[in-house]
């Protein structure tokens, strides 16, 4: 399974690059990610809860960043084991291109599944992977840019930790 696409993000290339290396950003971007520890240099450990067709599972696995050429390109590689559900693994080649309005993030994703996921979910896996990728980059974009709702929330209850987490990443970066 392969898919590719791009997203325009209204931020500079360095900011987008930093986001890709940030565990907090990644955790909030990966759909269903409930835990993410580690760092860009040592790799991340992640726990992701996802439902693929009839198979719902908790995937535990590692995410590593490879072939890093700051701030232009990198490869995100991950493998998750879902116990009885089987496994999912894949990689994303990401390339950042400067544009007049910010940065264009190009991605090429390849995904592989095995075990019960393949046995039961193969017919929907392409659509699922596309949805996951779309969601990831959608989340990534909104985490970086900060959505209007988040800004609203920020003004209403600026001091609580809970809402602080929801703030746009860049805004928090600027504030701190």
């Amino acid at each position: 399974m392969n898919l590719s696409g791009f997203r325009d993000i209204g931020l500079g290339r360095d900011a987008v690059w930093s986001g890709l290396l940030d565990g907090d950003v990644l955790q909030r971007s990966v759909p269903g990610c409930t835990e993410l520890t580690g760092s860009a240099t040592d790799g991340f450990e992640a726990v992701v809860v996802q439902k693929v067709g009839p198979v719902k599972a908790t995937f535990r696995g590692a995410v590593v960043l490879e072939e890093m050429v700051a701030p232009e390109s990198l490869v995100l590689r991950g493998e998750g084991k879902g116990g009885a559900a089987g496994f999912a693994k894949g990689g994303a080649h990401v390339r950042l291109e400067e544009t007049t309005d910010g940065t264009r993030l190009h991605y090429e994703v390849e995904a592989k599944v095995g075990g019960k996921l393949a046995q039961l979910g193969s017919r929907i896996i392409d659509g699922f992977a596309k949805k996951m990728a779309d969601q990831f980059f959608e989340n990534f974009q909104s985490v970086l840019e900060g959505s209007p709702e988040e800004e609203e929330a920020t003004t209403e209850a600026e001091e609580t930790d809970e809402t602080a987490e929801k703030k746009g990443w860049l805004k928090r970066l600027v504030k701190s």
């Binding site: 075990g115 019960k116 393949a118």
Partner: protein, 787 residues
Amino acid sequence: MPKDGGIGASTKRREDLRFLTGKGRYTDDINLHGQAYAYFLRSDIAHGTINSIDTSGAEAMPGVVRVFTASDFEGVGGIPCGWQITDRHGEVMQEPKHPVLAEGKVRHVGDPIAVVVAESLDQARDAAEAIDVDITELEPVLDMKAAVADGAPKVHDDLTSNLCYDWGFVEENRDAVDQAIKNAHHVTTLELTNNRLVANPMEPRVAVGDYSLATDEHTLYTTSQNPHVIRLLMGAFVLGIPEHKLRVVAPDVGGGFGTKIFHYAEEAFCTFAAKQLRRPVKWTCSRSEAFISDAHGRDHVTKIELAMDKDGMFLALRTDTYANMGAYLSTFAPSVPTWLHGTLMAGNYKTPLIYVNVKAVFTNTVPVDAYRGAGRPEATFQLERVVDKAAREMGIDPVELRRRNFITEFPYATPVAVEYDTGDYHATMDKLLDISNHAGFAARAADSKARGKLRGFGIAHYIEACGIAPSNLVGQLGARAGLYESATVRVNATGSISVMTGSHSHGQGHETSFAQVVSDMIGIDADQIDIVHGDTANTPMGMGTYGSRSLAVGGSAIVKATEKIISKARKIAAHLLEAAEADIELKDGAFTVAGTDKSVAWGDVTLAAYVPHNYPLEEIEPGLEETAFYDPANFTYPSGAYGCEVEVDPDTGKVDVVAFSAADDFGNIVNPMIVEGQVQGGLAQGIGQALLENCAYDENGQLLSGSYMDYTMPRADDVPMFKVDHSCITPCTHNPLGVKGCGEAGAIGSPPAVVNAVIDALQRAGHDVTHIDMPLSPDRVWAAMNR
């Protein structure tokens, strides 16, 4: 006038009362005191090296009794293969070890790595997730031709290649066949695939192992078609348990279709673990698990060439087949593409020269073995497809081309080593054309056309070989078992009878039809006769049920044993009637002195045998119980003509089977209703293969069609009302019943009939389509039409 009992009567199936009211006793209904539950952790990758297995986490989980891995089976043998093929160079096949649990490597998705035994199935399943298996993935071997190319990764590192064997048959014919093809007026060539199938019996496999410390006896309850074979293979080759300490019980079994012939690792595991743990161990296969652990069927890729003279007379036939063995050799896997396939390549035709080459290949897929028809469907499909293509190329009507080449004199020795004893292929063809109203096809096609549909008529004429035998011959061919059948007929004191058969019934209705045979021979009511099967403790050593052998071989053993009973009873009757034995006649359950009204009833004779007060004790022993083993002199050769009529939707490519007629020659018929049911079931499976079913792997060796969402079983609305006829009868000459076997015919003859019909429909509509590989799904048909 239909009979109301005995041979030839459509007696209703006595077993249906319990099956239809939910009172069947299947293996999963067996629950023993103190039983623990086994859950198999299976590989989710196709090929890899096992670096380590850490079971400590699982062992600490609630309810876990023990976790087993390959290291627990070091003193145990591998799962044996029951047939050894010698290749065309005189070398024996490559035979890899098939461990109970994966040793060092995993070789297919589903290969068992470890087993958790726990107090409950849920606990076992949960604990299996805590097993940490470290595997390094290896490149999987999937495509058969690539698998035997130089430098291909190897499924088994200790073998020289992925080639199990390269079989040539008949090797001495090779050059003559090549020459005849080279010089022929016309050669029709066809490359085709016989799609991989999953048998999908309604009841998934189950095994319950039990061990008695008091008697040192093992018992295995299992979903098997042949409990004695399992006892022999597992006892002698895997676990080292002598027969007198090992009982195998196969109670009611919900369908087998071949996939329950074989000895599986789960059976050996449960038997082994029950002794280790001193408590019963049960494993119940889930449907998902069945897809990756039951032996699959078919999966051949073939090139076939048929050489003809200018009149369409067949001169020579040459085939080149790759047959998938999967990752390990299942019990009878090597025999399927060879002796069960090559010997049938003559079909119904007088082709004088035939050469069959088969390369059996290991791949990182589930093992492949016999599935309803086993080799014969593959042979029939190739042959009936190439004959149909040849007819179109030669401009000869497909019925006429077949008729020109039909064998008409019997016995007939084929160039592929078998001798057909009887048959009348013109008769079955005539019958088919009649019951299918072949003459009215043009009008029906016009009607379809008016409705925007493309109608086609496809014919196939099959031969099959049932009741594979005799044992001394199959031994020479590489069988590691005998192929006789056994029966013990135990007449009780009051005249009722228990027949203990080595055959096994798992949907065939033996309890009804076998009782009809004995009832007919003695002349007592069938209700007085019970058929006992499925338990090695109370049946004589028998080879079980597969290959449409049960009536021809098992039924003949029952006839032989019953003949011994009648012979002895006649002596007793002669004594009671004070007459010469030669003058005693048995009729309608009474012994009569010929030409007199002096007679003695069956029950009085049987009582005398057990209460021998007035009895010739100096001449014969008391009691009335006889055993017979029957080893046939030859195969039986059922044959038949099948006609399929389809409508193709030109907009979508969807194929509807609108009519299907079958004219079979099964020899004599014991129960016509059961025979019709067998044919209908076989036709549904064959139509399933032709149009719907496909076992597909992706390029990583992941099973894609691993559930009923993607593996399409035929449903009621996928098949038409069948017209089934078995009035063409040429009795088998070498078994006492004159029967031939009917269990697989439907699945053998129907796939080529369906494909021929679709090709006919497309060609009539002007499409230049000569072949589409099965299953003929709408997308494939549409693509072929719109190329």
